[in-house]
Symmetry: D2
Subunit: 374 residues, 4 copies
C-alpha cells in the first residue's frame, strides 16, 4: 500500500466537530461504545479517514458497521487490541463526506471485558460540524431491539454476536425515516419483570437509570457504566419501549433459582393454560413501575409501548397496566402500539424477527411517530 | 345476439346445489341479499349462466360484483326492476365453472326500499354441489368493513354506494387467504356505543341480534329482516369486530338530538383535550356489553376485536373494556389486534382506507387468525 | 328509484365538449366504438350522468369499463339493444367529474355484427372542455395488446371476450404513466406476416390503413370501417408495435389452407428445429414492409417494436429486419425494445400475460418512452 | 479474547474438501483470488473458523464479503499483509456450517500489486465435502458486472473499490436463484471493441483467453495470470456476456491516443448524431469475433448476450452482429436478451446500476436461463 503521508491524528479529546451516538459520560476519553447503536459521526474532507480504537473481550466479539454518506458500506467482526480501521481511501479531497461508525453488538451483560473504545481519527482532511437531526428517539428493548436474528440464516439457532445488529434493526429504520438521532438500551432475553427463563435479575428497569447498567466489572465501572445516567443531557422526543416478549416466555419456562440468594422465581400458568393472576399482576405492576420510572426522568417525552413482533400474548396485560398507570397518574402522553408479528416469511435466524419483519414493524412505528411528533 | 335455445330456468326454491352467503332466513324465496358480501355461489357446467334478480331502491342503488373461478370478472351498478344478468357466455360446456355473485353495497339503513332479490338461475348446463370452505368468519364493523373508500379517487368525498364494496375489502382478502366463508354485518358511520355524529341509535349491538336489523320497513320485515337471527344455523370459527372508529369521532362532534325523543347525546372531551371519564366509561361498558352479547350467541367462536385502520385513539379504552370483560367472565377466548393505520399512501376515497390499506390490514389479520385457528 | 327529473339529453352531434378515444370517422353519429380502448371522456357537473348506447352482436358480447376521476369504477358485459347506462348518481352537483367510458373488447373480426354505438349523454349538469393529454400513443398488436388473459383464472382456457380488456392492459398503464391519449389496433391471433395458425390473411398490415380494417360487413362499412384511415387527423408521438408472437407460433403449427383460394400457407422448420431460412426471410420482409407502411403514414412518430411478453424466439429475426430497414431507409427513428417474458407467477388466463406481466412490461416501456419523448 | 487452543491449521495444499470459485491455475498454492467473485467455500464443523490470507496492493484496496449458511455476514476492506480473518466463533461444534469467502473487487488492471492469496484455514472442527451446484455460469462484462455502484450513495461519484462488489451483483443473484456456481470476468470501463474513452487496448476479448489477462506484472505472472486459461477444466452451461455499454460511450468521447504506439482511436458520430457506419461495423465485427472466440473454447455452452442496464443504444448493432454470426456459423445456440435500463429509482452510486437495478435485471435473466437450461 502506498502510504498516505498526509494523515494527521485527531484525538477525540481535542477534536471540535463530531457526534457521539449512545449514552456516554460527558468528558470521558477514550469514548466507550457501550451499546448497539453507539457510535461516532463525522463530516470530513480529505481522501482518507481512519478510526483508532481499542477492542477487548473474553467470549463475545463485538461487530461494527459503517456508513458513508448514509449508505451501508461495511460490517465486520472486531478482534482484540489497539487497531486502526480505514473508513475510506482514495476519495476526492474537497468533497465533504459524512461517515458513521456504529457498534452492532448490544452491551454484553455476559462478558464484562467486551468493549470498544474510540481514541482518535486520522485523516488528510479537516472536520466540519455535524448537524443535528430533527428528532431524538430512545429505544428500550430486548433481543428484538438488539437486532438478534437480523443476520444469519433461518436455520441458524446459536446465540451469537454475529446475528445481532443495529444495521438491519427497526430502530435504525425508524430513525432514518424520521431523521432522528437514536439511543438504544436493550438486552436479549431480558424483560420488564424478569428474563425469558424466569431470572428475576434480568429486568431492564433495574439497570435503566445507570449510564450502562447492563454491563459490570471494574473496567466498565471506571468508564462510568455504573454511574447514574444524566437524563437531562439528551432529551428524547419519544421513547419506544419494546418489552414483554421475554416476560411472556417466562410463563412457559421452568422456575429459576437465583444462585446468589437461592430465591426461586417462576411466572406460573394455571392448569387450564391461563396465566396465574398473581403473577400476571406482578408483571403489570412492573410495567406500571417502569412507566413511572421513565416518566420521572423524561417528563416531556412521548412514551409508546410497542409489542407484538414475537407473539401478541401479553397485549391485554400490557394495556391493562397502561390503563392503570394513566388512571393513577393522569399521564396521557403514553400510548400502546402493536407491531405486526413475525411470520415464516419474515423470520430471521434463531427464530427472531428478520430484516423483513423489522422493516414491517418500522413502517407502522414510523407512521405512528410521524403522526405524534409532527 | 344469437339466442341460446337450450337455456333452462332453475328456480332457487327447487335447485339442489348452491350456497348462499350472508345471513338469510331459511326457506325464504326469492333470496334477499341483505348485506355487503351477501351472495350466491354455484358450480355449474354448460356454456352460459344467467341470474334472475329483482332490484329496488329509492336513493342508493346497489352494486354487485362477480367472480368466475374465483377471479374478479365484473362490477356494476344495478337499476331497479326484474332483470337477468348474464354471468358467462360461450364457455366450453363440459367444464365445471365456479361462479360467485356478490352484493357490494352494505345493508342501507337509510334506504328502506333498497333491495336485491335472487329468484332463479338460467343455464344450459347442470348444477353440482358447492364444497364447504375450511373456516367460517363473521366480520362486524362500520364503514371500514363496508369497504367505503375502496373504490373512488382520493379526491372523491361524496358518501356514495359506488365507493363501497366487498370486492376490495379486507374481509374478503382474509377469507380468501384462509379459505373461509364469510358473513358481514356492518354499517358506515355506526359505532359500538353511538354513531360518528353522536347519534345513540347508531350502535351496532342494538341491531346485531336481528337477522338484518340494519334495515327496516314493511317489505324488509316481510323478508324476515327484523326477526331474531338464528345463531345456531351458522357457527363462525372466529368473529372479527372492527368497531370504535366512529365512537372516537363522536368525541370530536357536536351533540346529537334524537328527533323522536328529544334526547341529546354527546361524548365529551375535557378542556385539556382528554376524553371525559364518564363518557369513556359508557363507551367501555358498551364494548363489554357487546362482547357479552356476541359470546352469548356464539359460545365457541374466537372473538378478536380489531382496531386502528383509521387512528389508534381508543386502543387503550377498548383493551381496558376487554380486560374487564375477561376479568368478569373468565372468558379468555377474546383478544385484541391492532390493525395498521391508513396513511396518505394507502388511503382511498372519502378519507377512508383504500385497497392498499385493506391489503395491509388483511395480512396482519390473516396471520393472526392462522395462528389461532390452526 | 326516485326519478331525477332534471336530466337532459345531450346528443353527441350537438354536444360541444367531449373527447372520443380510438380511430373514428369525423362527423359520424352515433359514434361507433370500434376498438378496445375506444371510448368517450367528459368533464361534467351535476349529480347524475347516463350514457345512451346501442349494442349489437351475434356471438361475442362486448364488455366495457368506466372510470370516475381516473379511478376504476365498473366493468360489465353488454347485452344487445338500445340502452342507457348510469355512470354516476347522487354526486355533489357543483364538482366537475371526469368520466371515461371505454370498450374493453377488441374489434371482433369474427363477429361482423358486434358493435357499440354511442348516441347521447344524459345529465342534470353541464359539460366542460376535456383537456388534451401530454402525448399521443398508438399501440399495434395481437392478443397481448387486446389484453387477452388479463381477466380470468389461470386455469381458464376458453377464448372469450370476458378475458380480454384494456383496463388491465400495458397500453393503458403506459398511457396513464405518461399522461398520454392512446389508440389501439390489435387482434388476437394475428401476426405481421400471418396468424398463429399460418392463416396468411391474418396479418395486421393488410388492415392497418383502413379506419377499422379488422371488421367487415355492410353495417360496419356504413360506419366507415373500411374507409381509408386519415392518418393526419391524429399524429402519435410514438407508435408501439407489439407483433411477432403469432408469427413465431406459426412455425409450430400445421399448414393452413385458405378456404377462398385453396392457397396453402406454412412457416416451416428444418429437421434440426431451426426456422426455414426462406420462411424466416418472408417474415423479416413483412416486418420491413410494415415499418415502411407505418412510416409512410406517420413521418414524425417514434416507432418502437416491442417483443418478448410471450417468448423471445423471433428477437433476432425482428432486429435483423429492423437493421435492414434502417440500412435501406436511413430512418433511425425506429428502435427495438424487449419486454420481459411472462412467467408462471405473472401469467393470466388462457396462458396469456396476466395483469402482473402487463405491469412489468408497462414499467419497462414507460421508462423507455420517457427517455425518448422528453 | 479467551484463546481457542483447539484450533488447527489446514494448509489448502493438504486440505481435501473445499471449493475454489473463479478461474485459477490448478495446483497453485497459495490460491490467488484474481476476480470479483473469486473465493473459497467450505463445509466445516467446529466452533470456530479462520482464513489465513496475504494481501497486497498499491492504490486500490481489495474488499471481501462472507456468507455463513448462504446468508450475508460481513463485508470489509482489506489492509496489506499476512493476516487471519475470523469467519465465525462460538458456534455449536457439531453442526456443519457452510462458509463462503469472496473477493468483492474486480481484477484491477490498474494496480498490478493488488492481490489476495488464500493460504490456509484454521478450525477446531473438520472439513466435509462441498457439493456441486446444479449449473455453472460464466459472466463476462464491464463495470456493471463488476458491481460498480452497488454500494455507495447516489451522490457518490468517485471511482473506487468500495463501490464495487459481487455481493449485490446480478451475477450472484442469478446464480443463487438457479443454484449455480459462477465465474466472473469483468473490467470497469472496458468494451468489446474499446474502452469507454476509446482506448482500443481496453477490450475484453484480448484478455479473455488468458487465465486472468486483466492483470499484469511479474508477481501476477508467477501466479499464472498470463498463462492460457484451460477452458476444459470448467465447462459453463451458459455464458452471459454483458458488453457494449462502454463501446456506446466511446462514440461520445474524444479520441484516445495509445501512449506506446501513438495510435489514435475514435468511434465517430456523424454530424446528424448517428453512428459512423465504418466504426459501427468494426464494433459489430468485434462482437462477431468475440462470439467466435467464446464458442471456440466453449463448444456446448449456451451464449446469451445481454445488454441494456445502462441504455439501449447499441441494441440493433449487437443483434445485427449476432445475426451475421449465426448466418456465418449456423450456430443457433446464441441469443440476445435485453435487460431493463437503470432508472432514477434504481440507480446506485457513480451513476451505475444500484442493487434494485441488479435485482430487476437478475429476475429477467434468471427467468430466461431457467427456460433455456431446464
Amino acid at each position: 500500500m502506498t502510504p498516505n503521508t498526509n494523515l494527521k491524528t485527531f484525538d477525540l479529546k481535542d477534536l471540535q466537530y463530531y457526534k457521539i451516538y449512545g449514552r456516554q459520560k460527558s468528558g470521558q476519553y477514550p469514548v466507550p461504545l457501550f451499546f448497539n447503536g453507539s457510535g461516532i459521526e463525522v463530516n470530513v474532507t480529505g481522501s482518507e479517514l481512519w478510526i483508532d480504537i481499542e477492542v477487548e473481550f473474553d467470549t463475545h466479539e463485538p461487530w461494527i458497521f459503517t456508513r458513508l454518506n448514509d449508505s451501508f458500506m461495511s460490517r465486520q467482526m472486531l478482534m482484540p487490541g489497539s487497531q486502526s480501521i480505514c473508513l475510506f481511501r482514495g476519495m476526492s479531497c474537497e468533497a465533504v463526506k459524512n461517515v458513521k461508525f456504529f457498534r452492532e453488538l448490544q452491551a454484553m451483560s455476559e462478558d464484562d471485558t467486551c468493549r470498544i473504545l474510540v481514541k482518535s481519527l486520522r485523516s488528510d482532511g479537516f472536520f466540519l460540524p455535524v448537524s443535528d437531526k430533527k428528532y431524538k428517539l430512545e429505544f428500550i428493548g430486548d433481543s428484538i431491539t438488539s437486532g438478534e436474528g437480523t443476520y444469519g440464516a433461518k436455520e441458524d439457532v446459536d446465540w451469537l454476536p454475529m446475528y445481532m445488529g443495529v444495521s438491519r434493526n427497526y430502530a435504525l429504520m425508524v430513525s432514518d425515516a424520521l431523521d432522528a438521532e437514536f439511543r438504544l438500551f436493550s438486552q436479549g432475553g431480558w424483560g420488564v419483570l424478569c428474563g425469558w427463563d424466569n431470572d428475576p435479575r434480568h429486568n431492564i428497569p433495574c439497570r435503566y437509570e445507570k449510564l450502562c447498567g447492563l454491563v459490570s466489572g471494574t473496567k466498565n465501572d471506571e468508564l462510568g457504566a455504573s454511574e447514574p445516567y444524566d437524563f437531562d443531557e439528551w432529551k428524547p422526543d419519544a421513547i419506544i419501549v419494546n418489552l414483554g416478549t421475554n416476560d411472556s416466555s417466562a410463563f412457559e419456562q421452568p422456575p429459576f433459582t437465583v444462585p446468589e440468594t437461592g430465591e426461586v422465581f417462576k411466572q406460573r400458568k394455571e392448569p387450564d393454560g391461563s396465566y396465574n393472576q398473581d403473577d400476571l399482576n406482578r408483571f403489570k405492576q412492573a410495567v406500571i413501575n417502569f412507566l413511572e420510572m421513565i416518566r420521572r426522568h423524561n417528563p416531556d417525552s412521548h412514551i409508546v409501548w410497542t409489542y407484538g413482533m414475537l407473539a401478541y400474548n401479553l397485549t391485554l396485560a400490557i394495556t391493562d397496566a397502561m390503563n392503570s398507570y394513566r388512571q393513577m397518574t393522569g399521564d396521557n402522553n403514553v400510548s400502546f402500539l402493536q407491531l405486526p408479528n413475525t411470520t415464516e416469511e419474515t423470520v430471521g435466524s434463531h427464530a427472531h424477527p428478520g430484516e423483513l419483519s423489522h422493516a414491517r414493524a418500522a413502517k407502522v412505528l414510523t407512521e405512528y411517530l410521524e403522526s405524534i411528533l409532527s
